[in-house]
Amino acid sequence: MPNFEELVIGTVIASIIAFLINLILMPSFIKFLKLKGKVVNDNHKPNKPKVPRPGGPILLLSIVIGELILYFVTGNLEIISILLTTTIAFIIGIIDDFRIMPGWFKPGALILASIPLIIFHIYDNELNVIFGSVFIPILYIPLILISIPLAGNTVNSIDVFNGVATGFMIITMFPIIISTFLFGDLEILMIEIPFLAALLGFYMFHKYPSKIFPGDSGTLLMGAMYGALAIASKSEIIAIIALLPAIMNSFLFLSSVRKIVEHRELKSRPTILNEDFTLQASKDKNAPITLVRLILLDGKLSEREIVMKIYKLATFSSSLALITILLQFIISSG
């Protein structure tokens, strides 16, 4: 077990490298994707510019290298377990990026990504539920099998505009980091920092106006790693609260469509793109209800304005998560 100073130095180096890999390799990767014709239309902008996709491979590379550095410093097997979960989620996403898969594929296949967490037993047998903890050694396993597909698909479903998924993840990582600092292990906190650094590096290219889209490979790996970190740091409820806007989006969508479908399979869109490139809520009764459609019920908005609204909602839910952490801190120390 390394001492505290070695851990801090390891984390700082891992984080800087994770950030820099995105910054250095992404421009070349963007050129490569353009050359290979792996581009999609950015439909919400004039002339629908072609944007390369997916950026997931470089994001994964930055996370893997950053976390492996940390593994060589700490020897912590939890890092390998979380990396396996993240990599499996990435593979599922990259299949979906390049092949048209049915709606059940992502949530179904993501169950596989949960398995390393169970094999390496990164979970505690006690579930932290803010007001105390419950001993559920058997129930925890199905809970993990559900959590990773839910986290992956929830983040995937929020990736509707430039930068939203990455920005949303960055904002909602802060309550997890604070919760881990107060109630979790130092070694898990050390794993979270390079992930945040990688997200920040990727955000430089994904932010509005996007130079690259993460694709399903990028969003699924973000969601799966977020879920895995929440489980490892005993911050499951905090993660649920921080992710509430995205959960709300999934809930609204599923409760209106009443089945698991891909967005491309929808006959009616939740929003309408105007000639001036603003968006407005669809008036079609059969159109699915989504978070963006609810935002647009108050009037038409530009893409950038919608992105800012979603970030504000993420900040609001993260604030609720922080209040919950405070509540837990008072209860546990009282």
Partner: protein
């Protein structure tokens, strides 16, 4: 090419209220788990019997699933009320 200013008058509190309502539901579920579901294991007759432990876990899991079901029903009702009010205020 942003249309800055379009929709600036939007009152955004409504969606935050929706999220706040969801937070209250999550916290209520946590309270129920701690004060109702978790203490069930205290009633387990033989603490070392694995079959008895499995039975208790099954009862706890069933109750947890019921709670999640109730939360989804409540949230669905809230969504309908929210949309109705939102759309009627738009028409008004």
């Amino acid at each position: 090419m942003d249309r800055v200013g379009v929709g600036k008058e939007m009152n955004f509190l409504d969606l935050k209220f929706f999220i706040l309502f969801m937070w209250v539901l999550v916290m209520t579920a946590c309270i129920f788990i701690i004060f109702v579901i978790a203490p069930i294991s205290k009633f387990q007759i033989d603490q070392n019997d694995s079959l008895s432990f499995l039975k208790t876990s099954f009862i706890q899991a069933t109750l947890a699933v019921i709670i999640v079901g109730i939360l989804i029903i409540v949230l669905n009702k809230f969504k309908k009320i929210y949309l109705l009010k939102k759309l009627s205020s738009k028409k008004g």
